[in-house]
Amino acid sequence: MPGTPLGGFGRYAGPATLILSSLADGPKHGYALTKDIEQFAGLRLAPGTLYEALSRLEGQGLIEALESQDRRRPYQLTAAGAAALRAHLADQQRVAQVGLGRLARTWGAT
């Protein structure tokens, strides 16, 4: 959805949403992000995809890098990132509600 806050990320909108959601409860470095996303979303972001999305998010000012710890650099959500994530998830929620409502009306509740 081009008009949504992460619409400009194109095919990285999915990884960007997962990364922002993972950072919503605090800073994490690359490997911690991979494991956390695998746990809550059930998919594993490949290293190249993860860092493509991280560099885009950092370039857009939605996340920021913290001081490096033992060669690992944690990232944290910025205020702009939190606002973008909230708006994006609200959009997604509206879509999900519409889809679930229509499914329930046509196919019945499961």
Partner: protein
């Protein structure tokens, strides 16, 4: 969480994978990315999908440096890098295109082409060339102004004087060598003295200069025996003129990359970039008409050879790169203007 012990072999593999990324990216992300790779290897030693993913991302990051993807670039950097790439692609396109056009102009000096494919092809190529030079002039004026301002230490449009001096030196050296050399060698232009000069689409002087400045684009390189019959100064010019072209184009690309134009100027240049891609498409359509129409004319004057097919391939690649860069420039300019 992550790795405990890694073998030197794994470290070497990670370092090898990191080399797929450009130097700037490695400086910024290299250390932490290597740590992530080592942790991944500790958990899953082998994965061809992971290797392919890292290589693909590395290549994308390299394209980003050319402004061909938005990966990790600010809007202004994206627009500038895209415009510089478009400039380089358009120059490569013109070098091969002018060599082709000069060849056709030579034929036309002696006889009119009688097949519509060659006639319409030449008309499209001539129109594309005029349009490209016009657009180049329109784009060059603000670039030259910003560069002069930077060199004279005025304004902020061109950046520090020291960063511009080198590229400007390359442009002046390459441009001077090219103009002086081409002016000298155009006197031996094979089109001179033709009987159909007054009916030609391309003015003889311009055609002769184009021929001399692109003398290095020649099928004679594949025929060393024929090449040995050339006068030594002409052979030297064929071998050395690409250096002058490289200096001119490389210097121009560096200037565009180092300037700091306003959002408005970037938007103007992005519009010119889109028009340049269309002009290149017009030229390429004409060249395709001629090459695939295969009109030979009297004495094979309009015959398209292997070098022309190769030139067409190079020009197609250059057009794709230019169109891609034009899209990148527009995207960057729109984002900068707050409409992306």
């Amino acid at each position: 969480m992550g790795r405990d012990v890694t073998s030197p072999a794994v470290e070497r593999t990670a370092a090898r994978l990191l080399r797929w990324y450009p130097a700037g990216w490695r400086t910024r992300y290299g250390e932490e990315f290597t740590e992530l790779l080592l942790a991944e290897y500790a958990e899953r030693p082998r994965s061809w999908r992971r290797t392919a993913n890292v290589i693909g991302s590395g290549l994308l990051a390299r394209l980003s440096g050319l402004g061909l993807t938005g990966f990790g670039l600010s809007a202004a950097d994206q627009a500038r890098a895209s415009l510089a790439t478009l400039g380089g692609a358009a120059a490569a396109f013109l070098i091969f295109g002018l060599a082709m056009l000069a060849q056709l102009a030579i034929g036309w000096q002696w006889t009119m082409p009688h097949d519509p494919a060659t006639t319409s092809g030449l008309a499209l190529m001539a129109a594309g060339t005029v349009l490209l030079f016009l657009l180049t002039a329109l784009a060059a004026v603000p670039v030259a102004w910003g560069t002069a301002a930077a060199l004279l230490g005025r304004g902020t449009g061109g950046g520090p004087r020291g960063r511009m001096a080198g590229p400007v030196g390359f442009v002046l050296a390459g441009g001077t060598a090219l103009v002086a050399g081409a002016h000298h060698f155009q006197n031996s232009w094979p089109g001179t003295g033709g009987t159909a000069v007054h009916r030609g689409l391309v003015p003889a002087g311009a055609a002769a200069f184009s021929w001399a400045s692109t003398l290095s684009v020649s099928s004679y390189w594949a025929h060393p025996a024929a090449l040995r019959a050339f006068p030594a100064p002409e052979l030297a010019w064929m071998a050395l003129s690409p250096l002058a072209l490289l200096s001119l184009v490389g210097g121009t690309v560096a200037i565009v990359r180092r300037q700091r134009p306003s959002a408005r100027l970037l938007a103007y240049q992005a519009r010119l970039a889109a028009a340049a891609a269309l002009a290149m498409a017009c030229f390429l359509a004409g060249a395709g008409c001629w090459v695939f129409g295969q009109g030979s004319g009297r004495a094979g004057l309009f015959h398209a050879g292997v070098v022309d097919v190769a030139g067409l391939a190079v020009m197609t690649v250059a057009l794709v790169a230019a169109a891609w860069a034009a899209v990148g420039a527009r995207r960057g300019a729109l984002a900068l203007a707050g409409r992306g």
